[in-house]
């Protein structure tokens, strides 16, 4: 049940990450267009920087949970490497509990901000005077997703720990080795046909 929920949430995060990436691609196209227009036609689109900031903040907030599920948030593992497995599992748990606390603090302070924007009908200090409740609301949603995901992974790891399933703890919240990290890049490079190193043109050998 827990596992299913967390897999579902992980799939949602993955989809959101792809969408966020595309938002960045589309944003870059609009900005490039604007730079060209400004340079060659003297026309300028108002507020792109403001909206770029919103896009960035919202995509990063939604990306937090994707980074969590793919274990991308950095931990220093110099000591961890030498700790025996049961100790490792406890340290993993400690780190996810602390991260969950951090996530909920962000949700808490973010909620405070959104409520005060709502109360004051706050608008951006910009020509567009965007009502801040919209971008901030989406951003808060991203933070909530992150907090929910952390809480879920905490619960799952506690459950796994109670079952004494240390491998599962490692899989949920462990530190991926650099080997795993670089593997993707290496495999991608090999898939592009770089198996045998450089192919010098004929006469080269």
């Amino acid at each position: 049940m827990l596992k299913k929920t967390s897999q579902a949430l992980s799939t949602v995060s993955d989809t959101l990450a792809v969408l966020s990436g595309w938002a960045i691609i589309i944003f870059s196209m609009i900005v490039s267009l604007e730079v060209m227009l400004r340079k060659f036609a003297g026309v300028s689109i108002q507020g792109l920087d403001e909206y770029g900031g919103y896009v960035f903040g919202i995509t990063a907030a939604f990306g937090f949970s994707y980074a969590l599920f793919t274990r991308a948030h950095i931990r220093v593992d110099i000591v961890l490497r030498f700790v025996p497995r049961p100790g490792r599992a406890l340290l993993h748990l400690l780190s996810i509990v602390a991260l969950t606390g951090f996530a909920f603090t962000m949700v808490h302070s973010g909620t405070g901000l959104v409520f005060s924007s709502w109360d004051l009908s706050a608008r951006a200090v910009s020509p567009l005077q965007t009502p801040l409740i919209f971008p901030q609301g989406l951003w808060l949603l991203g933070l909530c997703l992150f907090a929910t995901a952390s809480l879920l992974l905490t619960t799952r790891s506690i459950a796994a720990l109670l079952r004494n399933d240390l491998a599962e703890v490692e899989e949920i919240i462990g530190v991926p080795s650099v080997e795993e990290e670089a593997k993707e890049e290496i495999e991608a490079a090999r898939a592009r046909g770089m198996k045998s190193g450089i192919e010098l043109p004929e006469g080269g050998r």
Binding site: D14, F56, H73, A98, L99, R192, G204
Partner: protein, 434 residues
């Protein structure tokens, strides 16, 4: 000073417990707030919001994706081949190709993992097949890869700029000459080693006809194009640094389209990788901005600066103390974390010693490069180690990187005694700083 010492001790303690770097930074800030400042309850939300919507930081995902697209489209692989043809007559042969390829690749990529992994995958089998010294091979790749953060564009410099309000345009320009000089020092060291101990060098390939070499040159064009777009558009005032990232991304997509490798699944993967790295960095930044806000409120930077002033050391002596401090810290901390934790305190200190903020950014970047290759915790060392599919001890990498650590320390010395190495280009392009 006591505040600063407690701070560093708390970080090292929390990080040795392997708590997430972002959480550790946030925790220290939060405890500092609870014991003295008491501002986070009110300000926390708006600090996070303004950090995460800072337009300067929007450049981060843009530049990360440029590198992703270029690598995934295979343009980088072709670049290495073209370079190899030109470099293999020098003493040290293909070892220079590693450094040169890393230098060029750095001009389009802000990530050292991607640089080391890409160049390493292409280079390692080729050098091994020709019998080059394995230690020097892996050392040159690990060290060359760190050039990615010194030569623009650089994610680390964007973060530095966001945290210190230094100009990104000036920082980017200031990284160019030191980047080239450092690459030349690395190559120089390879020449010296190759002359002193010819056995490190592998079998030479026969000289390739000039026509063939020239025919391969166009493979270098994409790199120069992307680099030219970024620096050119900032220099002419046509675009802000963030906008230059957008232009570069669009250009890299067009270049990728010409290779026929641009596909939906490739772009989706590039999107995932970009969001993953960006969010990882942003979480650390959110924590770091919170911490710096609290530290500033508590007056810790001023306290440290006053303490240092009372020491009565010359500014050169003091900058060396800072360099050693970072060298040691970099053995244990990851590079970006090391910068964001300390910059709020050490930055103002450097300014109070009379150093230029842009110059200090380049100094800081060099210290981060060292952090990437100093054992036991040097990310690039492990990246390169993981490429060695035939295995071998990590000690080979630790030993192989030593000449390049020396090269970087030489570069630090050059930068300290000849600050114009960094400042000449930005001063020439944008006029003297005010």
């Amino acid at each position: 000073m006591i505040g600063f010492a407690i701070l560093i001790a708390a970080f090292l303690g929390l990080m040795l417990l392997s708590i997430h770097v972002a959480t550790a930074i946030f925790l220290v800030g939060w405890v500092g707030d609870a014991t003295g400042a008491g501002i986070l309850g009110q300000m926390g939300g708006s600090i996070n919001w303004s950090t995460m919507t800072d337009y300067v930081l929007v450049a981060i995902p843009l530049f990360i994706m440029v590198g992703e697209v270029l690598v995934r489209s295979g343009l980088t692989d072709k670049m290495y081949t073209a370079l190899a043809l030109w470099m293999n007559r020098l003493p040290g042969g293909l070892l220079h190709t590693n450094v040169a390829a890393c230098t060029l690749f750095s001009a389009t990529s802000g990530s050292s993992v991607a640089t080391a992994a890409t160049i390493g995958t292409v280079a390692l089998p080729s050098l091994r097949e020709r019998g080059y010294s394995e230690r020097l091979t892996v050392g040159s790749i690990a060290a060359g890869g760190t050039l990615g953060i010194l030569i623009p564009p650089s994610i680390n410099m964007i973060i530095y700029a966001a945290m210190t309000d230094a100009s990104i345009g000036r920082l980017f320009a200031a990284g160019v000459v030191p980047g080239i000089v450092l690459a030349l020092i690395m190559s120089g060291i390879i020449v010296v080693i190759a002359l002193a101990k010819p056995s490190v060098e592998g079998r030479r390939d026969r000289n390739i006809p000039l026509m063939e070499k020239v025919r391969q040159l166009p493979h270098l064009l994409p790199v120069f194009l992307i680099f030219g777009i970024i620096i050119g558009s900032i220099y002419t005032g046509m675009a802000t640094p963030t906008e230059s990232g957008a232009l570069a991304l669009v250009a890299s997509l067009i270049l990728a389209a010409t290779t026929g490798r641009l596909s939906l699944s490739m772009l989706n993967d590039a999107a995932r990788a970009t969001v993953r790295t960006t969010s990882m960095v942003v979480l650390i930044l959110v924590a770091a901005f919170t911490l710096n806000f609290v530290l500033g409120f508590l007056g810790i930077p001023q306290e440290l600066s006053a303490w240092v002033r009372d020491l009565g050391l010359s500014s050169h002596a003091m900058i060396w103390v800072i360099a050693i401090f970072y060298l040691v810290l970099g053995c244990f901390l990851e590079a970006v974390s090391m910068m964001v934790i300390t910059i709020g305190i050490v930055g103002p200190l450097a300014v109070s010693l009379g150093y230029d903020l842009v110059w200090f950014g380049i100094f800081m970047t060099l210290m981060m490069e060292l952090a990437l290759i100093t054992p036991p915790n040097g990310l690039n060392l492990y990246v390169v180690q993981s490429i060695r599919d035939r295995g071998g001890s990590i000690m080979d990498v630790f030993i192989g990187v030593v000449p390049f650590v020396i090269a970087m320390m030489l570069m630090v010395a050059l930068l300290i005694y000849f600050p114009q190495i960094a400042l000449w280009l930005p001063d020439t392009l944008f006029g003297p700083s005010t």
